[in-house]
Amino acid sequence: MAAFAAYTIIGLSLGGIFSLAALGIVLIYRTTGVLNFAHGAMGMFSTFIAWQVFYGWSHPFWPGWLSTLLAVLAGLVFAAGMGLFLEFAVFRWVRTREPVVKAVITIGVLLALQSAASLIWKNNQYHLPIYIAPQTWTFSVADVPIGANYIVIIVAALALAFGLGAFLRYTGFGRSMRAVSDSPMAASLWGVPVGRVGAVSWMLGSLIAALAGILITPFINFDTTSLTLLIIDALAAALIGGLVSLPLTVLGGFLLGLLETYPTIWIQSLGFPRLIALLVILAVLVVRNPRGLTAVATK
């Protein structure tokens, strides 16, 4: 029973990561029509920037919280810059093209970012993870020790999901974003700055991806490929939400996290969780065929 509870905590925190990554995908897809296969790679690159600041450049005499703060800030600032750069240098020029062409362009982005990271930080090397909360902070619920880092992830995922939802619902710019996601054409006729909305979506999406990447480092094999390949789990979570609904996406992320974690009690395999993600994707796509996909595709 204790094992089951421990796995539940692990599954929930993994699910929090999937939710975070999926939120960024949904945000970018709805406002710009780009299904971003490079989302994992973007988060990975920003995470390695943070890692570089944390382990490479921070001064040994600085207190721990200062290096952590600086590292996270550096990663997030870089992520925002990268999102803006991609929007202005690449995706602004293909706004009217088919969704498939845009998706293939993101594969180009994925390959470039992945290879650049493996060039700089070496692909098959073990990297020490970044801990947001000190590893020694643990407490136990019903005799199950829980690390503070797990809780940080779950809280961050929920807070960001609710924050993003509130931002979209209650602020003027959030309304603009929703207008663009419903119909860019009509929104632009009503004077909504479609270009600026796209740029902000890319920035926000990239920021969330970076946050997901930084938070997940203690729980996975922290190298360049495994963070890039997080994309498939994130896509599965996003598809559960039909690529439109933020609450369903978050729920889907947590659900997927649990689904992928429980079998590891019996099956010791690195690859088996990927099979579950694929089955979830197949189930969602073949059985339900999310309306978010067709809605944007026929726009």
Binding site: G108, L110, A112, L229, L270, R274, I281, L285, V286, N289
Partner: protein, 345 residues
């Protein structure tokens, strides 16, 4: 036999004769590159069929090639089969997997198909090719070893007699390429292109979507598997690395980059994918302005990504397709100039 077909056969024969001579006299490393170029070209050719003709996206072509390679390796290493049988087994295994992947594709298209095939590539990369549960198929962490083989009376192995394997591969590629060009205008090819342009319209015109989509996936996977089934012979053994997810992504990127609707673009892409990285890593080191530098494989992969982005913005039909259009345009202009006809309008 039409004159058009004669011209195509002549072009294929000339291409074979020229390409078969090129690696002669180079060291084993370059001969391996040449053979690998044909194997990758088969992978790209499979995308010409699936994406260029039928309009279906796939991000798991390297998986099909890998299944072909492992099936062929298994036939040779554990059943001591003749290599021709092994190749047939590789093609059959890839074809079967292609049909299975085609099943969800009956209900999906475009981006959703890309997501599913990406998932399939990832599952095979991380699970099937690497997990203990599938050791009967992958031969464990060491992979299957293939020493030498005899095919069509030619002795082949991965070192001294590599050229024989290359020539057989190249002949097969020219044959399959010729068949692919002919397929384009055949009855099946017209049905494929009808599916690409509009599934709804094709179904209305009486095209059996289920049959032709599954056939396209199976044939495409079979072509990729045909190339892949030669991999154990050319490399001496099979490992998961060459057929992992990023090779699949590179297949998609390079096929689009070179022009996904043209058979010669697949050959061009194969050469690009196999030879350029090796040349870069071999000669791309030294000192520049007193600082040592070294060009590794990663630079090639970065270049592929960046070139793909630029190409999709600037040349939508791919390098080969766009050059071809330009050449045809220049040719017709030159002819018009030669006959001094002035075009009015």
């Amino acid at each position: 036999m039409t004159s058009r077909l004669m011209v195509r056969i002549a072009i294929a024969l000339v291409a074979f004769a020229v390409l078969a001579r090129i690696p002669v006299g180079f060291d084993v490393g370059f001969q391996f590159d040449a053979a690998l170029a044909v194997i990758w070209a088969f992978g790209l050719l499979s995308l010409v069929l699936l994406t260029g003709y039928v309009g279906q996206i796939s991000l798991c072509q390297a998986t099909f090639a890998g299944v072909g390679a492992y099936a062929a390796g298994m036939m040779v290493a554990s059943f001591h089969a003749d290599y021709l049988v092994a190749v047939a087994a590789g093609v059959a295994a890839a074809f079967a997997l292609g049909v299975i992947v085609g099943l969800p594709a009956l209900r999906l298209h475009g981006i959703t198909l890309a997501i599913v095939t990406l998932g399939i590539a990832l599952v095979f990369d991380r699970y099937v090719f690497q997990d203990h549960a599938f050791e009967w198929f992958t031969g464990g962490s060491g992979g299957w070893r293939v020493g030498e083989a005899t095919m069509f009376g030619l002795r082949m192995d991965s070192s001294k007699n590599l050229m024989a394997a290359y020539v057989v591969l190249l002949a097969l590629f020219c044959l399959v390429g010729l068949l692919m060009v002919n397929l384009h205008d055949s009855g099946a090819g017209r049905r494929f292109r009808a599916i690409r342009d509009s599934e709804l319209a094709a179904a209305t015109m009486g095209v059996n979507l289920t049959r032709y989509k599954l056939l396209a996936f199976g044939m495409s996977a079979g072509i990729a598997g045909l190339g892949g089934s030669f991999y154990p012979l050319v490399a001496g053994s099979v490992s998961p690395q060459p057929f992992w997810l990023f090779t699949s992504l590179q297949f998609a990127a390079i096929a689009v980059l070179m022009g996904v609707r043209y058979v010669p673009a697949a050959a061009l892409g194969g050469i690009f994918m196999a030879v350029v990285p090796d040349v870069l890593t071999r000669f791309g080191h030294g000192t520049l302005f007193g600082r040592p530098y070294e060009i590794s494989y990663d630079w090639f992969s970065i270049a592929v990504g960046v070139l793909l982005i630029i190409q999709l913005i600037v040349l939508p039909d791919g390098v080969w397709g766009d050059l071809r259009t330009k050449a045809l345009h220049t040719w017709s202009t030159a002819r018009a100039l030669g006959t001094r006809k002035v075009k009015v309008a």
